[in-house]
Structures are given as C-alpha cells and as structure tokens.
C-alpha cells in the first residue's frame, strides 16, 4: 500500500498523523507529510486507511495496493 497527501487540499487538521503516526508526520506548520516515499508497511495499513477516511479535506489518497 502507498499513500499520498494532496498538498493543495491539506489544511493541517492533523487527523492523519494522530491516527497513523508511523505513516504521516506534521511539517513545521502542522500540514501533513508522508514518511519516506509513502509506502505503508503491512502492519500499518489499517491505520493508514483510517487516516484517509478521517481527513476532513479528503486530501489523502491510497495510490496502490500491493498484495502478495
């Protein structure tokens, strides 16, 4: 799974990094950035999905699901 934050939509509500702190983090103004290249480790997928579902601006997209 891979996630992406649309920086034009993100307004820094911070729901994503509160719900999935191993996937997202705040920048210096509280907007969301993905950690690394946005690849979500299998154990964090549920949190990443919750983060996307709770974003008030619908700024998070789950771009790929790779299942072995």
């Amino acid at each position: 799974m891979k996630v992406q934050v649309d920086m034009d939509r993100c307004e820094g509500h911070g729901r994503c990094y509160a719900l999935a702190p191993t996937v997202f983090e705040p920048d210096e103004i509280g907007n969301a950035v993905v950690l690394g290249d946005g690849t979500v480790s299998p154990g964090d997928e549920r949190q990443a999905e919750l983060a996307a579902a709770n974003c008030p601006e619908q700024a998070i997209t789950i771009t790929a699901r790779v299942r072995s």
Partner: protein
Amino acid sequence: MGLHDPVADWATDWDHTDDTYAADPFPIWDELRDRCPVARTERYGGGWLPTRHEDVSAIAHDTERFTSRSIVMSAFRPPLEFAPAGVAPPISSDPPFHKGARRLLLPAFAPQAIDKLEASTRAYCEELIDDMGDRDVVDAAADYAQHIPVRVIAHMLGFPQEDAELFRTFVNHVIEGVALPFEQRAEGMMTLFSYLEAQVRDHIAYPRDDLTSYLLAADIDGEPVTPEHVGRTIGLLLIAGIDTTWSSIGASIWHLAGNPADRERLVAEPELLPIAMEELLRAYAPVTMARLVREDMDFNGCPMKAEEWVLLPFPAANRDPEAFDRADEVVIDREVNRHAAFGLGIHRCAGSHLARMELRVALEVWLEAFPTFHLADPAAVRWSGGQVRGPRTLPVRIG
C-alpha cells in the same frame, strides 16, 4: 440574547441569538435540512443559513464568492477599508493576504509546539480540581472548563494571569454581544482594543519570550509585521482561544454526566479518549462562522445579494445524515469521523491542535479525579447562544 422578536418561522426569519436556538438547535437544523436547507432571514440586514454538510463545505471552500471580512454576524459590517487584513487577521482576511498572515501563526500552533504546553496545562487542571475541595456539587463550566483556555492563552501571549476575568468579559462581549445596540457594542470593542494596544506597547518596550514578542519581531514575506496587525492578531487569539475550548470541555462533561454508559466506558478504557473526543467534537461542535456575500449571485437557487450574511453552522453540518451514519447519536467509539468542528478550507481553526490538547487533558484529569458524576440539576444548565455554543452553567454532582 433574547433582545429580538421571537422567531416564528426558522426557514424565513431565523435568528441565531434566539434563546430557543441556544438551548437546543438540533431539531431546528434537522427540520431545515429537510424542508429548506438554506434558510433565509431579513434580520441583521439579510442573511442565509445553510444546514447541509455539502453546502457548508462548499461555502467554506469558496473564498472567491464569500468573503471573511466579517466572521461574526451582527447588524454591523466592518468597513470595506479594513480589507485585506480585516479586523482580526488571518481569520478576517481573504486570499492572497490571508496566506502570509496565517503562515505567521501556524508554527506556534503546530503539534510540536503544543506538546510543550501539555505538562503545564495538566498541572493547572489538577490545581482547579484541588481547589474544588470535597464539595458535592461543582459547576463544571464556571469552576473548571472556563479557566483552562484562559490560563493557557494568557500564558502563550504573555498577558498577566490577573487579567483573566477581564478576558472573559471581552469574549462575552465580542461573541455574545452581537445583539447589543451599536454604541454599547462599539464601547466594548474599544475597551478590548485599548487593552491590546497597551499590551503591544509593553511588549515593544520590554520584549520577552512569548508569542506577542515573537509576532512583533516577525515578518510576512520580508515585510515587518506592523504593531496594528499584531494587536489585531493577538485579539483574535485571545477571543477565539477562550470560549470555544471552554465550550467543548463543558459540552463533553455535560454529555458524560448525562450518559453513564459512555462515562463508564471512558473510565474503564482511557485509551479510547482520543477517538471519543472526536465524536464529542462532532456532536457538540461549538463554533459557527460567518461570511459576507461578495457580489450578487445565485447559490443553489438562493438569490444572494452583496453584503448579506451567510452563517456556516459547522455543528449542523456535523449532524447531517447524508454525511454521517447515525448522525444524531453520540457513538463514543466512532472510527470514521470526518467532522468539521474546526471548520473547513483555508480558515481551518489555527488553534485546533491546542484545543485538542486542552480538551484531552481536561477530560483526562476530570475523569481521573471524578470517575462518577451526574447532572445535579438538568434544568439549571444554561447554554450560550450566538456563534459559540457551550454550557455556561453546568452543576454536576460528584460521586
């Protein structure tokens, strides 16, 4: 409050300062959503009240057709010369000015900065609980909730803690005084502006390690921030930071006092609080914002005229069954909760991370101290009206 004629028809003559609206706005919004989703009033020089999540969101995101020159609806509209900053930048600013004025504030309110305030906030909440002694009945709004944000924001801004009572007077005037006669309202505003001016002067003379001094030394895109801008911005922080958070803390305690199953669950599972808190923010979102229509236009069939008001009741959006399952119920472990309690779009509450920290800590400390409590006198609970709704009198029986 209650200075106007009573409302006979909410679809054509609504008034957000009406006592009925303060006491229980939910059935009003539910009815309007079905019957007339964008309601009309001729009061305050004309205004509109969208009640569906979709419309509230569309207007909040549309800074072209709706200006933030005034965000508090009253009979008074600030003169056009106040643009682009507005009376309280950045909340009263439109793009492009808005971006720099907001950027100036955001680092001080980012989660990393707010984390540093948690220990002192907790200590203060514990002190308030200690001060209650062994009383059986306490006022959770007046003795607890209201003090927490006042103390925190005064500390951040570097204002004297002794002025706390004065801050509450300012807040009450700005937010709840919208129906007062113009002269009386203007006089109250002048008292606030003189206070802010004196604080700015004092901080220019004696710079220190606080947010006021930081703002005075800052720049926006290379231009120094003027003392006038700083005065208006700290005015915003003082007003917006206090009764909003006070309302959220109070409404949450009110809910838990009246719903023992939710209270018992949170006492048993404190780790659920961050999720539960979001549901309490959704269900009892305190803040409604206003916009002014920029030019005559049509919005979903509503003929909106320039300078008419549009209220954005985020709490009504949060109760829209089109946007939320079981919208009218408090589901304490609701996992998917895309609520709009802190607004939507470029004016998302700049203090939301601070507010969430204060709400969480206030509830943690309260529940640790008082695992069992009930409403002492449900009829005595009084809710504030206008654009910030929360309990102002909340007698709670402990034990």
